[in-house]
Symmetry: C2
Subunit: 626 residues, 2 copies
Amino acid sequence: MTTAAGSGHPSTALALGHIIYEVMYKQMRYDPANPWNPANDRLVLSIGHAVPIVYAAYADLSGAVGFDEAEKRLLTVDDLSTLRELSSVLDGHPNPAEGFPFFDAATGSLGQGLSVAAGLALGARLDKIDKRIFAIVGDGESREGQVWEAMDFIVDHKLKNVCVIFSCNNHGQAAAVSPQQSADAVAAKAAAFGWEVTRVDGHDPEELAAALSGFGANKKPLAIVAETVKGWGVDMMLGKNFHGKPVPADQVESACAQLDQTGQKLGAQSNGEVRPETRAGTPARAKGKPIKLPPFAEAMKRAGKEAALETKSLATRAGYGVALVALGDTDERIVALDADVSNSTFSDAFAKLHTDRFFECKIAEQNMVSVGAGLSAAGRIPFASSFAKFIARAVDQIDLAGISRANIKIVGSHAGVSLGADGPSQMAVTDVAYFRSMTRADAGRGTPLCHVFQPSDAICAYRCVELMANVDGLCYMRTHRPNASFLYPLDEEFSLRGCKQLRKGDKLTLVSSGYMLYTAIEAAQKLAAAGIECNVFDAYTFPLDAAPVLDAARAAGGVILTVEDNYIGGLHAELAEAAGETTDVRVFGMTPTRMPKSAKSAAEVFSYVGVGLDQIIEKAKALAAT
Amino acid sequence: MTTAAGSGHPSTALALGHIIYEVMYKQMRYDPANPWNPANDRLVLSIGHAVPIVYAAYADLSGAVGFDEAEKRLLTVDDLSTLRELSSVLDGHPNPAEGFPFFDAATGSLGQGLSVAAGLALGARLDKIDKRIFAIVGDGESREGQVWEAMDFIVDHKLKNVCVIFSCNNHGQAAAVSPQQSADAVAAKAAAFGWEVTRVDGHDPEELAAALSGFGANKKPLAIVAETVKGWGVDMMLGKNFHGKPVPADQVESACAQLDQTGQKLGAQSNGEVRPETRAGTPARAKGKPIKLPPFAEAMKRAGKEAALETKSLATRAGYGVALVALGDTDERIVALDADVSNSTFSDAFAKLHTDRFFECKIAEQNMVSVGAGLSAAGRIPFASSFAKFIARAVDQIDLAGISRANIKIVGSHAGVSLGADGPSQMAVTDVAYFRSMTRADAGRGTPLCHVFQPSDAICAYRCVELMANVDGLCYMRTHRPNASFLYPLDEEFSLRGCKQLRKGDKLTLVSSGYMLYTAIEAAQKLAAAGIECNVFDAYTFPLDAAPVLDAARAAGGVILTVEDNYIGGLHAELAEAAGETTDVRVFGMTPTRMPKSAKSAAEVFSYVGVGLDQIIEKAKALAAT
């Protein structure tokens, strides 16, 4: 099939021939014709470029493909020649979102699969399903630190329903793998990480079967370190490093003939063997069930924040904590993850009240996000939080969660520069550009690949979390450290693509969001005192329906000034792109013009980076209609 | 000092009191008054929030602060009360770029420091300086996978001039550290990773001295696992987890008194002890020395690519490889790193010809970038390459390199969707938005924090690499997989902020870059045949001087259409932001409108995501002036 595709990794696939046979034919309790059965054991192919061997086995087993059970069809061996074609469900790397439901998450960016397996295992435990998760990881791939974050996490959470199989073929792409990733080294590391380790010949079915018989039998999770041969069974692929190359068309026949001969010699059968019995599955959780949060005040009391109802001031991160508790009360699908900062992100309230659905990931953000992708595949709605700055640690994992169309919510606290004293290593200023970049690509269901939220007060934060829970897909919310006074009535409603007009004016239109909005409002008040009345908008979400902002601007001199405490690619870009198609509205933007540093207050840092109160007023005066 | 600052982490600092004493007073061979001396031993405080203890010791030792030797001053104990103030060199976390040259790189986003130490160690080896690098890592911090990527890398490269000290105080932020990060677990892991491991009481100077006497004495690099006490010496901080809180003002006196009493009891001296002798340093490498590459044809022959001079076609990633070899010939400061894909990024040519300056990082992009930051601090100009998609793995490390003002160049190959068959897990579509976000913030020396390059042909790629080498700071270049015919004469010149007009027209202005540009040109040719003459611009860099594009657009109907194969936040945003301040130019953008998938050709994927030839032509016809 790789020769037909003209690309792919047949040699890596052949290294897994016997392992895939043992796992997919002998060990996994599942019905290939119904990959949607929640009782199925699952396989995560972390070493994604080996996927042709899984496609081959799945076709041989007549596995079902398609986007849902209603329109499924059974994969045939003939289908295999469509590998990597635009119309094919057989994508170049594992990709459930293109119609291959045997998989739970996209892999191919290496080192992420074991974390996904951990998420699937947590989901099975929550659902009280006796379900086993197999994960296959390459030796070169095990250089990725995330693999060891997952090894820690699985031990922490006693996930004995996960088995990892390391395929050690000793070849990377550019060269041999390092001695640090030899089978001996991987085995020693796995043992040091607290796993039960079994060494096997990865091409000996009996050794593999014996090793896998220990799955779940020990006190520790099981790691199988299998020595494999890249290009096993095809001489032309052996010895030298034959990576990422299909067999030339004129040599396919001889290569296949050699495999057939070997197969006959070993008495292999092409299919029809008796596989483990399939269990009846509990019905999958209803997707898209709407989630309605209680009144804000009620949720505040429930979370022990009633005092803030009096002071009318609460940080948006605390508003997130209040909403998360209410979500947990409202819907059992909600789960939360944090990376040892739950007392800063305020996911700790959820941890106390919904202990069984909170998963402490410690300081390992990459693993946290990929575990979330696994939980999403298990039908949960994971909210994963850390400092927004440290969420940057998991950009590649978030990208992959997007490819998987995972229903995951990322919440970054202490965003922007308002954090102040801790300095730039704790300040997220590139996050808005990154997450906004995904807001205008369609996820394949008529909804954006990503929704971004930046609430300015706790009431808005509360409702944004409700919106996130009701979107089926990736969402990002940026919360801020400082306390912020309530801008909205307790029962204010918010919507996807929405924004709020907070002031009306005829000279200029100021647009901001998050904690920065308060400085914009203060500027507008001072400008009004000077006779310059400005519109003020709270643009709390991307994608943004810019029409109301543009219309208001047209009626107020046709000039918009955006104010942000993140680098370019956020609000200024969003409105400039919208206004760029017209000729009657001009857009100017204020974003940090220099790298921030520590200072005692948010206001000091705002001024230092060029978005301080006086600087906004000065710029506004220069732009205001006269 | 943390009480004066009103924030900070005194308890974490006190856990390091004895370790910092032993390292900064007894072990490090350096001159506190001249931190710029290249012969100095170095300390990387990976657990950045413990920085107050380093500031205290450095003040006690009258260490020099300031931006360069010419304007240095010696830190005093009185200065310590300015911690975290806007005007202070004592930033909230280690930050050399704000005037604290004792440090080599910003830390504070955890898990990165040991990689930086490895880069410093490589630099010392290249410079043949007998220099020791100490790195201090927290126990909770060691949950970050990158720490173990660095542990592998240091063994691979036999960097016995690095010593890591794990401070195991058993407390994280939200709770106790996991048993997976206990002193026993960390020691077992370090041993399994091939390190010499010594266990000590982190508050026993004699044990610490004995352990550090083994630094460099074994076949393996040395890891010291020190059991420490968070808040050591101050009762009010003990027991419960006292994290990230200063001592209340009314309790500072008693806390300090308790430390003084303990000090007297133990016979500690406040300063003036004999420290190891300082060695004369070799002069630091001249910064900003201009780098001039030879003629393109000459470099092509040197890299064995002369055949492409005949076919006049070469992938931009191959153009990068050619330029990298020429850079290596031209300037010894140039070093290169890759993550097991050097035969795809084409850094392999440099690896063959400049073996001693190429560092294979294997599949661990986070470590690769932070090692690069360390090499930059050692006076080198590192070029770090991988697939653009996998560069996303290191966003947080790139952020920190930016905070350090590291002179590092990131090169991502196979960018955008033109990769085709391998599918979305290998396609970088969010990279442009991320890197462009840093192009309008000043790095503190009148230059942007980041320059972004996206060459369309190998000639442009060659010169963009030359531009990158001559910029002092962070740069990103995006190269593409497919072969691309030469668009420019062999001796064409390119510039920062520049762009090139490739066609003149009067009906519309098309702007694109990279491999996508060829489709835009083809569209312009077909449109010309239909009587619609378009300007075509190659916008090969950000920040972009948009004036020439806007002027050309004004003379051609006032409409710009941008075409990109990355998600929003790139070229469309750049020009919409520029045109947004005027009323006589409209800007429309075409970017991928859906998640890409595998397909046989780049053209198929372009069409699938909405930026195909026919779609561009259709959109252009709708926008063209009539």
